[in-house]
Structures are given as C-alpha cells and as structure tokens.
C-alpha cells in the first residue's frame, strides 16, 4: 500500500490547522491565577499556638533554614498545692526561604501540627534578606492554608474522628441506659425522651491537647 505522494505533507498541514482551532494551553498567569493541585507546596505557614518549641523541625531541616529562639517560663500550679510547671515560650520562629528546598520534612516531623503547607507562591522579593519570614509573617500565611481535601467516599474514618465518635457513642449509651433505668424507676407512663446520641464534642482537636 504505497501512500499517495504528498499525503504526508497534507497530513502535516491538517495537524497544524486542527491545532489552530483548538483551545490554547498558554497559562495567562498574572491575569489568571493558576489552578494548583491540592497539597501544593508554596510556602510554609506556622500555627504558633500549637508550637511547643520542641525544636524537632529545626533539627530535622536538611538546610538548617529554621531559626527558633525561646525561653522558659514557670507556670503557677493549676491546683492549689500542686507543683509549678515550666513551659517553653516561643520568642522567634523564622524560616529562610532562600535556603529552604521545600522538602517538607519539618511539616512531616512536627508532632503538634504547628507547620502547614500553603499553596501561596507569590512571595518573591528584591532583597534576599526579606525571604527570611519571621514569626508574624509565617502566622499570616496560616490564613491561606486550605482545608484538607475530602477523603474518598469509601475511605476509613479519620482516626481522631473515630476516637471521638467512640467516646461519644459510649457516653450516649451510658446516658440512654441511665435514662431507661430512671424511666423504669419512675414507673409512670412518662415516655423518656429518646434523645439520639446527638453530637457531643466531636472535633479534630479532640485528640490533641
């Protein structure tokens, strides 16, 4: 099957013509913001309320780009007669993004969920010193942290929710049992309120403290 001479040329012309009628793929970035995938690694945000100055992030950082200063404070005993506790107070938390290589180890390693990825990427500076983001700036980035993407429909429940639910269920069952007992004790036809195990505290923060 010898092809017709020139059919290859015609095919080439057809390809370019078809491409011309298709939508272009040019990213018009400054005019149109790009659609970034979830879990985009733009900049690292600090949720400083969660930070306990454990220094794990600074120690694990391969680039040594996290600077942490802190001092110890003594906290008066919570209950009278108790012991004084000492607590670390964060003085400085800075990440030098001119050194950072966006490996994300600090975020992985943080045991208290104080560091987060945010998809913001427009923080170029004309002076390299300004790439060292201090505590307040890192806290500001926190507002841009997106909600974690939803789980797959059939996925296992997140552990903290499962734990919370378990406690809640247990509590509800106890209450129900108690109510039943009370109803039986009352004997009269007063129907006990069949309160479902509504929603006792069930937050993701449940697991932490």
């Amino acid at each position: 099957m010898a092809p017709i001479p020139g059919s290859g040329l015609a095919k080439g012309l057809a390809v370019t013509l078809r491409t011309m009628t298709k939508k272009t793929v040019t990213a018009q970035y400054p005019d149109v913001q790009p659609e970034l995938p979830p879990r985009t690694r733009g900049v690292i945000a600090l949720f400083e309320e969660n930070c306990t100055v454990c220094m794990l992030c600074a120690r694990e950082c391969p680039d040594w780009c996290i600077y942490i200063d802190s001092h110890k404070e003594t906290v008066p005993p919570a209950a009278p007669g108790g012991r004084e506790r000492s607590r670390n107070v964060l003085d400085r938390f800075a990440i030098d993004f001119s050194l950072c290589m966006y490996c994300g180890i600090c975020i992985e390693v943080c045991p208290f969920d104080a560091l987060f990825w945010t998809p913001e990427f427009e923080y170029a500076e004309t002076d390299i010193h300004e790439l060292t983001h201090e505590r307040d700036k890192l806290r500001e980035w926190m507002w841009t942290v997106p909600a974690p993407p939803a789980l797959d429909p059939g996925a296992e429940e997140p552990k903290e929710i499962a734990a919370a639910r378990k406690t809640a269920d247990k509590l509800a069952a106890e209450q129900a049992a108690e109510a039943e007992r009370a109803a039986q004790a009352a004997g009269a036809g007063e129907a006990g309120r069949p309160d479902a195990p509504a929603a006792p505290p069930s937050g993701p923060q449940e697991g932490q403290s």
Partner: protein
C-alpha cells in the same frame, strides 16, 4: 498639475500599502503561528490581543545601536538593507488590485518581466550583506542565498511564462482581464510551482537555509542590528505581500470573483492574497527546513520539469482552442 497630483497620490498609496501590509502579515504570522502551536502569541502591546506588537518591535529596533563590524566593508554593509527592500516597493507599484487604471500604481507593459526582474534584484541585498559582514556565517548565508536564487528563479520564470502564454500578454492587468475560471485547473501546476519557487526566493521556511539559525546563526543578517536588521525583516514580509499579490494576479484571477461583484474587485484581490499569505504562514509552521541538497534537488528534479510540462500543456490547449 493634475497629473503630478495623480502620480503623487498613487505613490503615496503604494507607499502606505508597503508600510502597512507587511506589518499586518507579520502580526498575522505572530498570532496564527502561536495558535497553530497551542499558544496565544503577543497579548499585551496595544491592549487588544497585542495588535501593536510589531509597532513596539519597530520602536525597539529604532532605539538599538547601529553596529558596523570593524572588519566589514562599511559602505556596502550599510547599503545592503536598502537594496534588499526597495525592489519590493517598486514591484508593488505594478501589481493591479482591481480593474481599470485606477487600481494599479503604474501600468507596466512588460509587467511580468518587470516584476520578476526587480524581485531578483532584491536578492543582491542579501548577497551584499553576506559578503560585507566579514563573517564566515554571513558569507555562507550569502552563498546559500545565491545558490537558492539561481535554482528557483528558473521554475518561477517558466511558470509565469506559462500563464503569459495562456493570456497572450505579459502585462499584469492584461493577464487578469483574460482570466477565465477554467484557467484554475489548467494552470494549477504552474501556480504551485510559482508559489513554491517564490517562497524559496523569499527564503521563507521551509526554504530558509540561508538564514538557518541552527546552522549559520542568521546567515547574511548575522551582523546586523537595529533599524538595518528591521529593514531586512520588513523586506521579507514585503516579499510575502508581493508574492501573494503576484500569485493572485497571475493564477487566481485577481479581481474576478465567483459572483462577479462589480466595484468590489479589489476586495477579491485582497482576499485571495490574504488567504495566500495565510498559506505562507501555515507552511512555515508545518514543515521543517529542507537540507541544502534537498532544496537543490527539489528545484532541478521536480519544479523545473513540472513547469516545463505546464508550458507544454498550455501550448497544447492554446493550439486546440485557437
């Protein structure tokens, strides 16, 4: 005095066409090429889809320093862009866009010869540039230009001769006047040969070995900067306008349209020329550059025999219908 005014007006119109049409073609090339590659092309200059990009380019070129290499032949180096550009201005004078005296810059009796002769002169500009730059890449570019011109002027001439035979005249308006629709299938081979050879003479891709940037930087124009470089570019685009206009006039029936719209002949001419210009751009995007020997082979073993066959066919048909 009325005559002088008439001449001045015609010259002015041709000059304006000479300055604007190449820019329009250039801008179209920017956009069409971009979209054929899935891009957008210039979007900012001028606000609306970058329509003023080439104006901005022109301003940029005008601001650049005009460098003449130390070892170059100064005067010829500086003269070359003008030699490359002016012939196309002259050719534009002779291309009719509508019926009658009013729609052509100047009626030239031996129009085909005038046009082809003057277009051939334009190539001298590239040769001068290639030699005078004192640069080996430029010299190679000049050599390739010359070889290409020598190879492709013959089929171009032969194809034009065929249509002149068919019309029985060498005047451009005369040829269009004699045009009938069935000339299209009759002269189609000649038209293709003419167009391809014209592309090669303009050094447009896929026939751009003389300026092959991956091999010889920018051929004869390597050493040029600023306005002189812009003039060479303008010459290329003016060449596209001229080639498309000529092909329209010679082979596509100029101002004849399917519905014979009287008074709108020039629209037909411009429309056909615009479509051809689009094809020029389209070919550039689609095909890779030919190798130097492939180029010569294409001309000598394909285009020349085809054009000779076209001439024979024209002669036979002419004798039969006479």
């Amino acid at each position: 005095m009325n005559d002088a005014l008439d001449v001045a007006l015609r010259l002015l119109v041709v000059f304006v066409v000479f300055l604007t049409f190449p820019l329009i073609v250039g801008q179209t090339e920017h956009k069409v090429m971009a979209h054929m590659q899935g891009r957008l092309g210039p979007m900012y200059a001028g606000g609306f889809h970058g329509w003023a990009q080439l104006v901005a380019d022109g301003v940029k070129f005008a601001q650049k320093e005009d460098v003449v290499p130390a070892g170059a032949d100064r005067r010829i180096f500086q003269l070359a862009p003008a030699v490359a550009l002016l012939p196309y201005l002259l050719v534009l004078l002779a291309i009719p866009i509508g019926p009658g005296e009013g729609a052509v810059g100047e009626v030239v009796d031996a129009g085909i010869f005038f046009v082809l002769a003057v277009m051939g002169v334009g190539v001298l500009g590239s040769l001068m540039a290639g030699w005078a730059s004192a640069n080996k890449f430029s010299l190679l570019g000049g050599l390739r230009t010359a070889a290409q011109l020598l190879a492709y002027e013959l089929p171009m001439l032969l194809a034009a001769a065929s249509v002149a035979m068919a019309a029985g005249t060498v005047s451009l308006p005369g040829i269009v006047d004699a045009f009938r629709w069935w000339w299209l299938p009759w002269q189609i081979v000649g038209a293709i040969v003419f167009f391809v050879a014209g592309l090669a003479e303009l050094q447009r891709p896929p026939f751009d070995m003389p300026v092959a940037d991956s091999e010889i930087i920018f051929g004869a124009y390597t050493e040029y900067t600023g306005l002189r470089f812009a003039l060479f570019l303008l010459a290329e685009y003016a060449g596209i306008v001229v080639l498309c206009g000529l092909t329209t006039v010679l082979f596509l029936g100029g101002w004849h349209g399917p519905w014979g719209a009287d008074g709108l002949g020039w629209v037909w001419t411009l429309l056909k020329a615009a479509i051809l210009a689009f094809v020029v751009i389209w070919l550039r995007v689609t095909y890779p550059r030919l190798r130097e020997d492939q180029l010569q082979k294409l001309s000598w073993t394909l285009l020349v025999p085809l054009s000779l066959a076209q001439i024979a066919l024209t002669g036979i048909v002419k004798v039969v219908i006479a």
